[in-house]
Symmetry: C2
Subunit: 156 residues, 2 copies
């Protein structure tokens, strides 16, 4: 129990971290589905980039959900410094890539709406917009996880 | 002198920080100039966003260049915790905005090249590309500054 109390708010192995990870998995899956199901996303580089990055975020978040669940319910927290560093760097890289993917998709949607008509029907553009929004939310949660873990490493 | 030695590599008041800040000022000015001089950038939202953000990064970097020069040459380092926190948060926000601006501009350039011809002559698109590249470099240096300062605060 003493070990569990040392996990800072939001650091790997805490309930806050579990919440953030579940949110990441949900939002990145939503972004992937809105972008890819029944839509010809592959005609624009930015949309392919978004799908690729969301496809990386989903397994990463799911793995860390499992680690958090294990830490919380089995009570054997993962506090090895080397592993924590890998988690921080992974979160960091994925949050940068998510932000880049989300903002480039948003910019492309804006240009498509400007060249109205043939490039983007209303139904399609709404789905693209929803996907970009979900990607932004996923980015926000990933960045928060990364900051909490970095703070936890540095303050020890 | 003892105070000066306590500044971590890259934290406010060190020579590393001065180098990063000068780089930020140079790259963000280059991005602003490539995007705005003699080019109709205001027809695309992403390019306006890039110009706005670079217009914020330039005064911020120049202010911190002056603070670093003062700390290094006059030898009176600025190590007030409240001010350090403001610097970290400011760097953080600006680096997120720079990355979003740079990647959305890059995505728009990609779409313009795809709709070749009337939308983007070769000379124009090259300038836009150079501007986006400079913005990416400016983002990279801002993010580095932010990380160094955060690490410096947290490890004290």
């Amino acid at each position: 129990m003493a070990n569990r109390e040392r996990a800072g708010a939001g650091a790997v192995g805490s309930a806050g971290s579990l919440g953030l990870r579940v949110g990441q998995a949900v939002f990145s899956s939503a972004a992937l589905l809105f972008m890819s199901v029944g839509v010809e996303f592959f005609s624009y580089t930015a949309f392919c980039f978004l799908v690729t990055i969301m496809g990386l975020v989903i397994p990463w978040s799911c793995t860390l959900v499992m680690i958090d669940v294990y830490s919380i319910f089995v009570g054997c927290p993962l506090r090895v410094p080397g592993v924590m560093a890998i988690v921080v760097v992974g979160d960091w890289v994925l949050s940068i890539l998510s932000l880049a993917a989300a903002s480039s998709s948003a910019a492309v949607i804006d240009v498509l709406l400007q060249f109205h008509g043939s490039q983007c029907t209303a139904r399609l553009c709404e789905r693209y917009q929803l996907s970009a929004m979900m990607a932004f939310l996923s980015w926000f949660l990933t960045a928060a996880s990364s900051l909490f873990n970095l703070w936890d490493i540095a303050s020890r």
